[in-house]
Symmetry: C2
Subunit: 356 residues, 2 copies
């Protein structure tokens, strides 16, 4: 193994669920990074070599610790992937900052917490500034496709009247917990019951709405949220679940934000084993004369759509945005930018460009 | 007229061609900006009220000056739109910096000059740092669609093997000088002659290639450039030109960048009165059930395409990116970011998010 330069960023991975393990693997591969520790509460992981727990061929020479305080390696940054919710991750972030680390987290509620969690955001910001460290929450959604990228696209607009984003996740190839989170296999009644109990659905739409509205200087006077099941029209079988026709294949979740002038923003998330008619094929006619002769094949899957109505009207479609791969990528790719950012709780809009 | 707050950014518009005039109009409309002066060498403009020259209904109370030194208003920033080329704009930028202004420019060769113009870039950077001011070159292309945006999209990738961008400009609704610049109405022989003389074509492909390669840590060992006419298949008439079948309707310009591993990057610009077969309709099937019921109509025009091959493969298509509107927008929208950026010659990748 080639030894890495000492200027590498030394990272502790906190949380070794599917996303955390993938982040750890990516950091082991990625030039410029040294994975020097890992934290997880799972007794089956604690004490084992990190390399084995994250599925590398060999060992890394560091074991998984039950608590951050048990990690003995010197490190610069904690990469955090545990819970979506402030009431769970707040103490974890506080501990990381007090131990003197910069923090990059996939926690949805941390991505733009100033409006939904003002008190907690102010607390984390003040602590980070006091210890001279930086905290960022990011991911594909929230963190990119429904907030940062639409905002980036407004750079080429002279006026924005409204923004509509539709994110389509083909859940059929995703993790079992993800398929469960969107209600796959439930009856419609079970789905409605779990929804009413607040136990399902995508976390982060309020944060994405708030980042867009706040950055563009709009005040949202009303926010509406709506979730409905996507019902299977045919039998569906994945590695994790079987769904009979009439049962739930996934969900469609819509957030709407209104200003004094009316509806300004809609964020629609369709995460389903079956995308339905409104995700009908969106393919270009086969080019008779390709612009780039060596042009590669297009990725498969449904299209995400960002529409900006204004001057000019823009429509942007994206294909191939895999939620897990993308979340792992952006969380790790943002680390150098977080190291360079001023102390405090920052959001994606504060960083200079984040790239692979 | 409501008087603006004194915290507005005070801008001098330098260059009152079509782009410069549109920038000036946008700054008059845009909250947070005060247009306090303008410079142009055209004797027909010098001494006239800026408001009349840029086509506002009324006067602005400032006249167009022939030289920057003649502008008497206090100002913070110069918005610069004159020439694409360092040998023309270098002295202008130097004068602005020595007069103590931050600078945002639409000059293509300034967008990422470190490789194509290293000596000039170092000179501007050193001067900007000495006087504590910031200089940015930006625009839609270079500045966004072929460099900044593809780089932003790599944030959600774990590996990038190659990048292919195709920019399609429907020139039929563009300015006369633009239609002339792409060869509209020439015979193929005339087109080839002017190309050989270096008097036509899009400026900025080398800068876009360099920004991408440098940011992603790749070394381009070879760059290839190719320009060919797009030949009209039918008679075309615009407000500025008539083109008979067999004559030139526009151009297709391709830049290819190679690393040690082979072709890494292709940037294709098709700017034509007629887009040709390879821009065949790329429309989604009509949704049977729209995701957002109030979804606005899609913009018209050809699609731009960004393909990233890697982990994952991504394809992004954009419609409605109007070159002039977008260049004016991003140049002005970048001004607050430039004011906040450290002193020196910066590029789009150095700024925090730029939005409308």
């Amino acid at each position: 193994m080639v030894s890495k330069l000492s200027t590498n960023i030394r990272v502790i991975q906190y949380g070794l669920g599917p996303i955390g393990r993938a982040m750890a693997r990516y950091m082991v591969e990625k030039p410029g990074f040294d994975l020097v520790g890992a934290v997880d509460v799972d007794p089956a992981k604690v004490g084992s070599d990190i390399g084995r727990v994250i599925g590398l061929g060999g060992s890394l020479g560091h074991v998984v610790c039950e608590r951050l305080a048990h990690v003995t390696s010197e490190a610069d940054v904690v990469a955090h992937a545990t819970s979506s919710h402030f009431h769970v991750f707040r103490e974890q972030i506080v501990e990381m900052l007090e131990a003197g680390f910069d923090v990059v987290s996939t926690a949805e509620e941390l991505s733009f917490p100033w409006l939904a969690h003002p008190r907690e955001a102010a607390e984390v910001d003040a602590l980070a500034k006091r210890v001279g460290r930086t905290v960022l929450g990011t991911g594909i959604n929230p963190g990119f496709i429904m907030d940062y990228l639409p905002l980036c696209l407004t750079a080429i607009c002279q006026r924005v009247d409204r923004i509509d984003v539709v994110r389509r996740v083909d859940a059929s190839a995703r993790r079992g917990p993800f398929q469960a989170k969107i209600g796959s296999g439930l009856t419609v009644e079970e789905f409605d019951g779990r929804m009413a109990a607040g136990r399902m659905g995508h976390v982060g739409l309020p944060e994405s709405m708030d980042m867009i509205a706040d950055t563009l200087g709009r005040t949202l006077i009303r926010r509406e949220y709506q979730v409905e099941p996507v019902v299977a029209s045919r039998p569906i079988k994945t590695d994790h679940v079987e769904v009979q026709p009439g049962r739930v294949a996934g969900l469609r979740q819509v957030a709407r934000g209104y200003t004094d002038d009316g509806e300004f923003l809609t964020l629609t998330m369709v995460a389903s084993l079956e995308q339905g008619d409104d995700a009908a094929p969106f393919e270009p006619a086969a080019p008779s004369e390709p612009a780039a002769p060596s042009e590669p094949a297009a990725p498969s899957g449904p299209w995400d759509t960002i529409r900006i109505t204004g001057e000019p009207d823009l429509e942007v479609r994206l294909k191939g945005v895999h939620g897990d791969i993308a979340t792992v990528a952006i969380a790790v790719n943002a680390i150098p930018g977080v190291r360079a950012a001023p102390a405090g709780l920052v959001t994606m809009r504060d960083l200079s460009i984040v790239t692979v």
